[in-house]
Amino acid sequence: MTTPPPPSSGHEPDAALARAVAALRHLPDVPPGAVDRAVAAAVARNGIPGRRSVAAAWLARAAGLLLAAGLGAAGATWGLGRGHLVGDVPVAKIAQNSPPPAAGGLGRYVAEAAVAAEERPIETPFVLARQAAKRVAVVGDFNGWNPNANAMTADARGVWTTTVPLPPGRHAYAFVVDGTVWVTDPRAPVVRDPDYGRDQSVVLVGHP
């Protein structure tokens, strides 16, 4: 794409400024794979718009069935107790977090239900082989880097595993072995937190 010519203004820059603008307009080369990475990250994070529409339609039908079953006229939706599910989306959460459906339609309600479906946590497995360890925990941005939050269990071969429900998106994490040793996941990309100067692993969680 070509950059449009400079807009004229009442303050035409002098030669040095014009030269500076020309240099600033130089388009950098796109790093190899950057476009693909951006598209993949977008689809992993957001899904595909058409599929969101299908989810919304499905949820609309499910919501309609619930309403028809006596759970409500629109106002009664607010009275739903905890534990009711639409698929595996907690209706109570949707009802508590959403305004009442607008008169004459479920549009906003359904749209927010679809968003809730996209954001529902995904059981994410974590694995670390560490035979000599006495205890291992996974810590990350999802549990406040708390080594007591998600302890892992070992099998006879010393392979430590656990699963953590994570919302879709990118999460940084690491393992803490025996309460003192910080270990990154050898199977995952590693990033460095410059604030603390230590490495972290990264997992990208998304609905298929």
């Binding site: 203004s9 476009v35 990250a41 937190d193």
Partner: protein, 217 residues
């Protein structure tokens, strides 16, 4: 977790209904057969319908300009790429809330500018470490582009140092106007600032840069 997106005007919170799309938002019958030659509006309309190829073509079309803007806003290569990718992900996530018939480019740059501001104010919270530590030449990036790719590295360094002396809002306004070639009404959509404020920022930035360049050259 999806963060609240302050990427669209407040009155665009509700996703537009299917019938809300203006006819101009759909690929007109006159669009070329090759999607690469479609107008931006046609690509946006197709991407909204779930066409990943159309979204990819949008990314291809705008990536270099986005990267240029992020770099000119003072982000280093790594942060700039991160901000651009983050902005594009957010664009994709908000496509179905994109006001039909609205101009795409100011919307994109509004999101990108937000990401650049956030990155600059927050500081980098993580830095990508190459897992594969093979020689740098095996992983070309912007920094490894040979010198001819930059018109004049020393001169650019002078310009960047001059830009660094500007307040962020003046820098942003100057870049949008004189580098990205944006009209003021589009800049208002990008920055949220009023017309007179933007004109003043551009003027002050130009004056300051002119003076600073004289000192530095």
């Amino acid at each position: 977790m999806r963060s609240p997106l302050r990427l669209v005007p407040p009155d665009d919170d509700d996703p537009p209904s299917a019938t809300g799309s203006s006819p101009s938002d759909a690929p007109p019958a006159t669009e070329p057969a090759d999607p690469r030659e479609w107008s931006t509006g046609a690509l946006v309309a197709a991407a909204r319908e779930g066409d990943v190829t159309a979204f990819r073509l949008l990314v291809e079309r705008y990536y270099a300009r986005c990267l240029r803007f992020a770099r000119n806003m003072g982000l280093d290569v790594e942060d700039a790429e991160e901000a651009v990718q983050d902005a594009l992900v957010r664009v994709h996530g908000a496509l179905d809330r994109f006001a039909p018939g609205a101009a795409f480019e100011p919307w994109l740059f509004r999101i990108l500018a937000n990401r650049c501001r956030s990155t600059r104010s927050r500081g980098r919270w993580w830095r990508r470490i190459q897992v594969d530590l093979s020689p740098r030449s095996a992983h070309p990036d912007v920094e490894s582009i040979p010198a001819p790719a930059e018109p004049d590295a020393d001169w650019r360094d002078v310009i960047v140092r001059a830009l660094d002396t500007l307040p962020a809002e003046q820098r942003e306004a100057f870049l949008l106007r004189h580098v990205e070639g944006m009209e003021y009404h589009d800049m208002m959509a990008v920055t949220g600032a009023g017309l007179s404020a933007l004109k003043m920022r551009v003027k002050r930035a130009s004056d300051a840069l002119r003076a600073r360049l004289k000192e530095l050259v």
